[in-house]
Symmetry: D3
Subunit: 67 residues, 6 copies
């Protein structure tokens, strides 16, 4: 019954990519720790780049600098 929260910047991840990510993480927990997929919850939070900071700057600003 693991709970996994994945926070990424909102940059166009498709439903197919999110499905692949959820399947992959669930499989890792099953194969490595024997966790039951049926009660493994994975939640993806997509965050605006104005709301995400790295190195003390907004990601929006870093992108304009090509960082």
């Amino acid at each position: 019954m693991p709970y996994v929260n994945i926070k990424i910047t909102r940059e166009g991840a498709t439903p197919e990519q999110k499905a692949e990510l959820i399947k992959g993480v669930t499989d890792l927990l099953k194969n490595i720790l024997g966790k039951n997929p049926a009660t493994t919850v994975v939640v993806i939070d997509e965050v605006d780049t104005d709301n995400w900071g790295l190195g003390g700057e907004l990601v929006t600003v870093r992108c304009t600098k090509g960082l």
Copy 2:
């Protein structure tokens, strides 16, 4: 001063239902643990079904399968 985070799939919970849920959780913390409602914070996050996985699948897909 408890902090409670409730994550649910975005499936049409009404303001009245959310108010009832917040009141109920706050009362539980007061009655069971003697916590002060005035500083009890409850945050509800509603998550798109494309961003929530259970059993290695998107909830969106599980719903189409009637799961």
Copy 3:
């Protein structure tokens, strides 16, 4: 399949109290939003009072002031 995270200060909550809290929250989600208890996850994090701040102060300090 809701996920609920309850953060409280570590002040001696007993297993019985935690069980009552978990049962109560699970029932609220079932009764108000029709959520399935079998996949409702509730996690309680107990935090040291040196690691919890309110009003800009450690709870440890606030307690010595009788706040």
Copy 4:
């Protein structure tokens, strides 16, 4: 490599204010704990006032009461 999550009600915080907040928190972690800004992640979640409870009530309702 700290991770900071700031949850606030969605009440019109501007990109400039969020940038100032992210810069300020990153500087605090560098100055107080010597943490490396380059791997300090700060994520701001803005939450609807219908989804935030305090004192057992929705913030939306508290605002109409002038609380």
Copy 5:
């Protein structure tokens, strides 16, 4: 720069298993979404079974019932 939080019950996961899990999740984010491993943060929280509820019961109790 994704942030991943994995919450599991405290049931003896070894450093090697945690390393494998962190490596696996980081690779998934790189391969599926092109995320940079250098700024991908993965945090594993291990939670006491007295603090984790499923189906309205403590995991400690469910284990004694063989669930």
Copy 6:
């Protein structure tokens, strides 16, 4: 009534440093966004270096490599 969660590796942060960090973050929220310190909650989670991954590796391992 903001809620701030700061996750850092468990590397000996003192109560004084944590108090300074909590005070600083609370002041930032007051000065930048006009938030009320009395209901500003700041929680610091200290995480073992075996439970924190960056660049696909445990921080414990990265430290032995001088990273």
